[in-house]
Structure formats: C-alpha cells, structure tokens
C-alpha cells in the first residue's frame, strides 16, 4: 500500500527524525492560509501516489501567500500518471547545502532488508544506480539484530565527513530502520536528506510503501489508505477481495489464480488480441465475487468480449457458473461472453450454464481464440 509523503513524514517524526513542519491543504485558500502562518517562502508539493512529481509540475516554490494560493490551484488541477492530485503539502522552503539519499527495501536476492545510501541525492536513485553505481553504498541488515550503530556509522561516513553530521545521519538511519520494521514497510526512503548552511541534517522528503500483508495486524497503518488517490475500479476490486489491474486492451479476462491469469493474458496476445485487464478471483471463490468481477469488467467501455478461464481446484466451477448467471440476470451483458471451465464440479457447472442459455468450453486455447475473434469482430 502506498501512503502519502505527509503521512510518511508523520511516521518518521514519531521516530525523532528531524523534518521541517508542514500542513496539508485540499483547496487553494487553505494553502494560502498555511503559507501565511509560516510567514516565509513555502514549497507546495502534490500528494499523489506517483513518482516524478517534480518533473510533472507537482512541486513548486511560492514566495507569498498569494503565490501559494495560485500555485496550489494549478497543482490541484494536475493529473500525474493518471492519478488526480487532491491534496498538497505546504512546507517552509529550506536552505540546502548538500543533498543525499538514504533508503531501505526488502531485497529478494539477499533475502534481507538492505540499506542504500548515496551522496548524490535529490534525483532518481535508479538512475544513479545505473550510471554511477560507485556512488551508492548497499548494506544488508540482519533482521534478527537490526541496524547496529557501527553499520549506521559506516553508511553515514559514506555521506558526510563532518563528525557532527555523521553522528546525526547515523541516528537518522537507525531510526529509519526502526520505523521501517515497526510499521511493516517494504520501502522507506528519504530523498533528499539535506544538510543546511548551519550544519543540521534534515529529511526534506519522505516515502514509505507498506507490505499489504502487514495491514491485518496494523490497524493504524491500514487507516492511512487514501482511496480518493487510487483508481476507482481497483478500489472496488479490493473491496470484493479480487486482484484487478486495468490494461488497455479489449478482451476482459476473469481467471482464478495469478499465474493462470497472467498466462491467459499472454495467450490473448499470442492469438492476436489485447487483454483489457488482469483479474484474479482467487481460490475459494463464491458467486458474489464473480458478480463483482463482471461488474468491474463491464464498467470498462473498451471491453468488446469477456473471457472466463477457470481451472477448478479449490475453486468450485459451479460457484463460478452460479455467479455468472446471477450477474447476467442483474445486468444483461452488452458484449459476447466466452466461458472456459474445467475441474471441480464441472458437470454441475455446465448444467447450470445450459439451463440459462449459456455454454462452456473445456480447452483454454480454443476459448481464448474465440474470445479474441469476437473482440476483434472476426467471427470464430
């Protein structure tokens, strides 16, 4: 789960990481009032779950409260990578002497949390990694012991030579590690971590991604979810316990299991079509899930044909058949439907479909070919 910069900053502040004050505005007037309160030049930053905010015009300086109002108005009209900006963070502009990067992720290769530090902060760290890998220090952490002081110092010495700054940065790193672990992070990042002309070390930005699997035991973190910042169809899918990812094609796919769902999309492409989505109805599916899945898919006006591909293991195919029938009764389909199902209770499923004027196929390749032909207007 993504959280906003201001939310990540709130978490980091609780761990004693030095962060300048800031307040959130949802209207230009609020931004103006906050800027007046700070009484200095402010930075107005779009709060949106997308990278590259600066390049998209979502981060700007405002010298006066009136500027803050007009700039906030501009930013609140932006859409960045398909997501509308609904909130801005207003924070006093800082004087910057140097910019560094520090971040932590769970690394698949070492199977541990790994810290990364770079004196080349303020820009895209992946770009630094690709072009000047010697400017990044990576340090795996044994999660059973946590980030020791000597490890934090080693990272800090890579960033600074002034001992006061090294010690300050080491403390920030240890606190960042704690924030990461105790809040179920899959990523925690400060970019940039700056030094001020007076020598202080301060976090000017904050980013945190939470492992979705942690949310069940962290109600306070789960409550940070901002649904208005997410794609509406993906919000609906999550509420129905479905995994849904919208794509640009015209063959809507409803599948059980993530691997089979991907393989189905791939087959659609193989036979000359384009998948409209990834949708996994999961293991123990009930008819309501199927109803929700069809509602989401039919909400996409690009979809010209719908393909079910169900391999019944734990999933009972008769449940899926019942769901299809119920959904169509509630909301007759305007596009053709191709159903492939095999496995648990297949005979019952086929009977249910037949009684309702539908039919099912058993071969995956044949079903995909037919759906592609229907979507592209070439009869199969």
């Amino acid at each position: 789960m993504n959280i906003h910069e201001y939310q990540a900053k709130d978490i980091f502040r609780k761990y004693g990481i030095p962060i300048p004050p800031g307040e959130v505005a949802t209207t230009p007037e609020e931004a103006e009032a906050i800027a007046r309160k700070f009484g200095t030049t402010v930075v107005i930053k779009a709060q949106v779950h997308a990278g590259g905010r600066g390049k998209a015009g979502g981060v700007k300086l405002a010298r006066t409260p009136a500027d803050a109002k007009s700039i906030a108005a501009q930013i609140l009209k932006l859409t960045i990578k398909g997501l509308p900006v609904k909130k801005v963070l207003v924070t006093p502009a800082a004087d910057i002497a140097s910019e560094a990067y520090v971040g932590i992720i769970v690394d698949r290769a070492s199977k541990r949390p790994v810290f990364m530090a770079s004196p080349a902060g303020g820009i895209d760290i992946e770009e630094v990694a690709a072009k000047t890998p010697d400017k990044i220090l990576r340090r795996p952490v044994d999660p059973r012991y946590g980030l020791q002081l000597y490890e934090a110092m080693q990272l800090a010495f890579f960033l600074y030579s002034d001992m006061k700054q090294v010690r300050a940065a080491a403390k920030i790193l240890q606190q960042l590690y704690k924030a990461f672990i105790e809040n179920g992070g899959s990523l925690a990042e400060i970019n940039p971590l700056v030094t001020t002309p007076t020598g202080d070390v301060v976090a000017l930005d904050a980013k945190m991604v939470i492992d979705d699997n942690e949310l069940d035991r962290r109600a306070d973190i789960a409550a940070l979810r901002d649904e208005s910042a997410e794609d509406p169809s993906e919000v609906e899918a999550r509420k129905a316990n479905l995994t849904f990812i919208k794509l640009d094609g015209n063959v809507g796919c409803i599948v059980n299991g993530a691997g089979l769902a991907m393989a189905t999309m791939d087959l659609v492409k193989y036979y000359g079509g384009e998948p409209a989505n990834f949708l996994d109805i999961g293991g123990s599916s009930n008819p309501e899930k199927v109803v929700a899945a069809l509602r989401i898919i039919t909400g996409d006006r690009n979809v010209k044909a719908i393909l079910f591909n169900i391999f019944g293991g734990i999933t009972r195919t008769d449940d899926v058949a019942n769901g299809i029938v119920t959904a169509i009764k509630q909301n007759p389909l305007k596009v053709p439907l191709v159903i492939r199902l095999t496995g648990t209770n297949e005979e019952i499923a086929v009977k249910i479909l037949k009684e309702n004027g539908l039919s099912a196929m058993t071969d995956m390749d044949e079903a995909v070919k037919k759906a592609v032909a229907l979507a592209t207007g070439k009869a199969a």
């Binding site: 769970v106 299991g257 089979l260 991907m262 393989a263 999309m265 791939d266 193989y270 496995g343």
Partner: protein, 290 residues
C-alpha cells in the same frame, strides 16, 4: 521414486481443525497420504474425524507420531510462528500453504529454518504431489498420473493447467512442486532442479516461472552447468505492465528487471526449451524425451 515426499512420508497438519486445514486433510488422507497427526493449540487430546490424533504443540506431535513432515494452514499472522515451531521441533520438511505472510516475517523465518536444518516449501504455495504415493497441500490429485517428468512452478492453477495437459497427453509425473509466489520463500527452482537431477526416476523437468526477480535466470544457468536431464520452461506474464504486482506478492517487474522476455532469453541461452504457450510444453517434452 520422487522428490521430497513419497509413500513413507509421515505428515502432521498444523491448523488441522481450521476450515482449509480440515478440508484438505480429508483430501490428503483420501489420496493416500499418511497423515499421522494434527496440531491445534487447545484441542490436544481430541481426534480429527475420529482417527487422527490432535496435539497442542508440534513438539508433542513429533514426539508421539515420529512425523517427518508438516503442512501449515494457519492464518497469515500466525504462519511465521508455525514455521519456526515446526523447525524447532525437528521437522525436516515444512510446507506452508498460507497466503499473505508478511515479507519481513520471512526475512527472520528463513535463516531460522535453515539453521535448524529443515527444508521449507512456500509460503503461499499449493504444496506438492508425488502421484500415486503422497500429496501434501492442495494440488488436486485426480489431474496427476505417475510417470517420468518432474515439475516445478511458482504458480498454483497454472501448474494444474500444465499438469492437466500433460496428463491428457499421457505424460506422467514423478513429483509436481509448487514453490509459491512470494518474494522470499524457502525452496527455489534450483533446489528442485537439483533434487530432480538426482532422482533416478525423473527423466525430464518442466519449470514454470513468472515475472519478478531473478530465480528463473539463475535456474537456467544451473541447468546448463549442473544438469544432464532435459528441462523445458514457460514464463507467465509476457503482457504484464512494469511496476504492478500481478496477484502474487513476488510477481512484479521492477523498472526493466524481471521481465518475461529476459527470463525466456535466459532459458534460450542456457538450453532450456522455451514454451510460448502452456500447451507447447507437451511437444517440447515429447521431443526432449524421444
């Protein structure tokens, strides 16, 4: 023969009285798996289906039943503890079916299990089956037949699909292993390929991967350097967009790394037969085993 489990496997079920645990325990017993005990804290002394003894702890269950394998169906927030409990009790083979285990938990569980000398399969996996001998987990028994091909996969239903097509083509299996879709797990492709290479009854291996990570690329190099048996592979997610998690926690293309194209190329370069569609696995196998 087979890998990891066979007729002699003595299995306990952690979470045997839960909804999923009880359903699949019945299925495993029906298939012929020796289920010698179950664990549900607070239900020690009771019996499952009037037959299988239930214990409060894994340690007690192992002491009484001499179990050498366990399968875990407990909710995600308790799964890490269940895996560690099993390893600490001396169980050598631990299969965790549970989906949704926090990744940070796995960064602690994995080294713990390895230090105890146990093998962990999963989490978030369908388990494994040695057709005609034993099944541990949730793979439907009726789609498998005994035979000479080993199968290892990161997926559940896609595995069923490929096994089903193999069985329809009368190509049987020594063992089908689902290693699971999480970014940090216990057993990887190489562990399974190595076991299949050493298994005298396995003549060829099918490897089903997906986007995300570098496991398949490393496995492909292992095939070239360490294996004599033919291996064919399929990668799911050729049409997956970058930066999005495709259902499985580990199925994500980061930037431009972990794509299907990159993995298929690694297969090609290292002599692993590349199936463009799941059905192509059949022809590739037939040719490889001729």
């Amino acid at each position: 023969m087979s890998i990891f489990i066979d007729k002699s496997t003595r299995l306990i079920v952690q979470g045997i009285t839960g909804r999923d645990g009880s359903f699949h325990t019945k299925q495993m017993i029906e298939y012929g798996t020796q289920v010698v005990g179950g664990v549900t804290p607070g239900k020690g002394g009771q019996k499952f289906e009037d037959k299988v003894p239930i214990f409060n702890t894994v340690a007690e269950a192992v002491k009484t039943t001499k179990a050498n394998a366990t399968v875990i169906y407990v909710p995600p927030m308790f799964a890490a503890d269940a895996m560690m409990e099993a390893a600490d009790a001396g169980v050598r083979f631990i299969v965790c079916i549970t989906e949704g285990v926090p990744v940070l938990d796995m960064t602690r569980v994995r080294p713990f299990v390895i230090e105890k000398g146990a093998r962990l399969l999963g989490p978030n996996c369908p388990g494994l089956i040695s057709p005609g001998q034993s099944k541990v987990g949730i793979i439907p028994g009726r789609i498998c037949i005994p035979g000479p091909v080993g199968l290892v996969s990161r997926s559940g239903t896609l595995t069923y699909e490929v096994v089903y097509q193999m069985t329809r083509a009368k190509i049987g299996q020594t063992t089908c292993v689902g290693i699971g879709g999480d970014p940090i797990n216990g057993t990887n492709f190489i562990d399974c390929l190595d076991a299949f290479e050493k298994d005298p009854n396995t003549e060829a291996v099918v490897m089903i991967g997906e986007i995300g990570g570098t496991d398949e690329q490393e496995a492909a190099r292992f095939v070239r350097e360490k294996m004599k048996k033919p291996v064919v592979g399929f990668i799911a997610g050729q049409t997956a967009p970058s930066g999005r998690r495709m259902g499985h926690a580990g199925a994500i293309i980061s930037g431009s790394a972990g794509t299907a194209a990159e993995k298929m190329q690694a297969f090609e370069e290292n002599g692993v037969g590349v199936a463009k569609r799941p059905i192509d696995v059949i022809d590739l196998l037939k040719r490889a085993m001729r």
